[in-house]
Symmetry: C2
Subunit: 197 residues, 2 copies
């Protein structure tokens, strides 16, 4: 039994792992559009083509599933941004590349959908909540290393600048139709032009 379990975990390509990813994906879509509480286990199971009881073979609880989605969301953005900045020398262009990757990851509707929800469900286990916060902090620290290189006025608080930057970006999914006339990347470029001068 050990051999099989380890094999599946290592390759992450077993039937169970694929099903788990599928559930994660449809759950991300539902959580993103309807919110955590308004999405029922039965909703998710139906969208995944199974009965609600079967979900519990893959996830221990609804909260467990939500945490996995939240975790994957931050990871998706983190990886997109991390992959976008190497090889770029100019600090402002580094930040612009990071911002475009960030926004495109948020608006990407093929496959797993990122949860932007800033409000964690208010009954989350302390330890789990701390883990999510730590993951988000890790992302913000990466952004900070990019912002640190920017030639900004001394009087400007870079923590506030980071929140300004993140606020403008994270608000985009609220108003921007990813299939609309203006490409998300162009929106980001105007943001950067405004922040830059």
């Amino acid at each position: 039994m050990d051999g099989t379990a380890q094999k599946i975990e290592r390759e992450d390509a077993g039937r169970a792992a694929a099903r788990r990813r599928q559930v994660l994906t449809v759950a991300s879509e539902l959580f993103a559009t309807k919110g955590f509480e308004a999405t029922s286990i039965r909703d998710i199971a139906t969208a995944a083509g199974m009965m609600s009881g079967s979900l519990y073979y893959h996830f221990a609880s609804k909260e467990d599933l939500y945490i996995a989605v939240q975790d994957a969301s931050i990871s998706k953005i983190f990886n997109a941004v991390e992959g976008a900045i190497p090889g770029i020398a100019d600090p402002w262009e580094r930040l612009e590349a990071a911002a475009i990757a960030h926004v495109e990851a948020m608006l990407d509707r093929s496959g797993f959908r990122v949860l932007v929800t800033p409000l964690f469900p208010p009954g989350l286990d302390r330890k789990v909540r701390d883990a999510l916060v730590a993951q988000r902090d890790r992302f913000e620290r990466m952004i900070d290393t990019v912002i640190a290189e920017l030639p900004l006025p001394k009087s400007l608080d870079r923590r506030i600048f980071r929140q300004h930057y993140l606020g403008a970006l994270n608000w985009i999914p609220v108003w921007c139709d990813p299939d609309g006339p203006v490409a998300p990347a162009d929106i980001v470029r105007q943001f950067m032009a405004t922040l830059r001068r």
Copy 2:
């Protein structure tokens, strides 16, 4: 009966009206911290010091109550901003005054608490949803009149600039502790300094 009803409606100071405002206030607090679905009618009633059934004397349904809170939220911000800009000539200073009023209204925790939630519950009645959207549009049009006066580069799309501005502001309640060391007004002033040059 007509006389009494009209009187109450006109003065808006009857016992019923006061109770209605009280329910609205505690509901705004709960909706803001826990979200719509996670807040039960019994939660709200308990916080208002009554039984859950009594709530239905003042509001026809939970959705009805939510709409009233959402409506009052936009009104509170609208009135705060509307009251902050007259008498200021310089366009940038007008926008800064609007932004400070906007943020202070969002962070104000005495009495009614503003709902910033961008996501309307996804089963809202069409007509009601349209009414809320229209009210929000009215606010955005007011902001647009201020933004229109700004001496911005021709290449800059003012609709995108408005969303940049609103995104940065609306994100503040996510990360800013209103009782923290940095005054919200100072945060806004740095935002404006960044947007300005």
